[in-house]
Symmetry: C6
Subunit: 101 residues, 6 copies
Amino acid sequence: MEIRTIKSPSKGTIDMLMRRMGANVNKDSICVDAVGLVQGKMLDMIYAADIAEKAVGVTVEDIKGSCPQNMIMIAIFGDTSSVESAIQEIKRNVKKEKDIC
Amino acid sequence: MEIRTIKSPSKGTIDMLMRRMGANVNKDSICVDAVGLVQGKMLDMIYAADIAEKAVGVTVEDIKGSCPQNMIMIAIFGDTSSVESAIQEIKRNVKKEKDIC
Amino acid sequence: MEIRTIKSPSKGTIDMLMRRMGANVNKDSICVDAVGLVQGKMLDMIYAADIAEKAVGVTVEDIKGSCPQNMIMIAIFGDTSSVESAIQEIKRNVKKEKDIC
Amino acid sequence: MEIRTIKSPSKGTIDMLMRRMGANVNKDSICVDAVGLVQGKMLDMIYAADIAEKAVGVTVEDIKGSCPQNMIMIAIFGDTSSVESAIQEIKRNVKKEKDIC
Amino acid sequence: MEIRTIKSPSKGTIDMLMRRMGANVNKDSICVDAVGLVQGKMLDMIYAADIAEKAVGVTVEDIKGSCPQNMIMIAIFGDTSSVESAIQEIKRNVKKEKDIC
Amino acid sequence: MEIRTIKSPSKGTIDMLMRRMGANVNKDSICVDAVGLVQGKMLDMIYAADIAEKAVGVTVEDIKGSCPQNMIMIAIFGDTSSVESAIQEIKRNVKKEKDIC
């Protein structure tokens, strides 16, 4: 799982992400002060999305097109401190509770 | 094969999974107290799905990746103890009866 | 090439396979007492399918969507002993007559 | 590059290949006594197809994978000795004239 | 992440890139004296695009691969010195602020 | 990057390539005495295409469907000596001016 946080993303960056989000997302209501990007296996992305969803003040969306086909990317939008908290929470939890067999 | 269990998944997590399920699934009738996620090779996913289907009290669905055709993950929905039992059952059986040649 | 045999597959497992078979397959006429699954390179799958087709009492279908794109999966349906015979026949022959250059 | 030759392929095997060939192929006119299968990188497949096309008595077709766009395998149809000659010709030439940089 | 800069790209090269850009790009208004190409993981491409967008005098576009959904490369168009500055800026920043867990 | 040159390609080989070229290519005007094939990462293929485009007497086209999805292939058509010159030029330049970070 790889993680990056972009503070004050440019309009073009936001557009690049928005174009890859589902059609039914209310894009105008999302706070885009910062965006955390998390890329990894689908299994881990669903798990990370769940942790981020339970954090406060962020919007979590999955981004189409990362394409090594068992990989997806999620974007976590919000104000900078909320995004950073959500990312911290993911990092704290992600190694837990996973079985490989 | 990698396995994770999410207890009390958030609404957004459920939606992310539901969007990747087939159109003919009756999504309202599924108990989503917990969800077990199993990701791996198609051959192993069909096998794991079969074991989970034979367990009690769970609903098994295949989750599409970004390419519409590829199945890489199954989700096992149900109450927490049923999901955990199904996951245990998969882990007990999955190494059995596989030939590599 | 990886091989698994599922005896008495659940209805959900059968459906998962049927949904990934061609539209022109007469799905009602297939005996689903057991199913052998063989996953591997397309070249080897065509070869394995040919061996299985020449075995007695089984129906061979290719399954869409295994997606590491040069891999496919075939399913061999039939009664348990016919499926096991076909699988044995594949395992006996598959190492033969292949050139790698 | 991997190569297999199937003598007297079953009807189901022929169908599996035909379904993955282009729509504009005159499938009835093809001799299917034997089929040579060659799988590899696109660059090498184009090269192998060219060698086979220049051989006598065979029909060369490219076989699509599960994604409609990708060619990963060619099939060489004909009578057994023609197919074997074409395959020999590919094996004699394929290591020649390739630069890797 | 791999980076190349093409000075005075040929018309055919520009066309090859333009065909892989989104339909809503105003292609006539882009300065094509030079083009910087950056290829890598989606997570890193979004990050690199953001850095380039904040540089002066360049236009940043994402370039689609053969599958319509996957973004694997960005192109940075502009006059030669602007493109080179943007590329330098990406190289200075790209190792920063990435967590792998 | 892998390179092959086919001299006097067969009609079937030309067709196989033409079917994978863009619809807006004037296929009748292309000299097909020889064809150079170059397969590699998209970034390198754009670069190689640009070098070939600047060579004399060749037509450069990108070929769809090589499909390990960050790989593409270009075909360089022309008379034999022009194709060989263009290929030499690619080989002389391709290691230059690439940053990996």
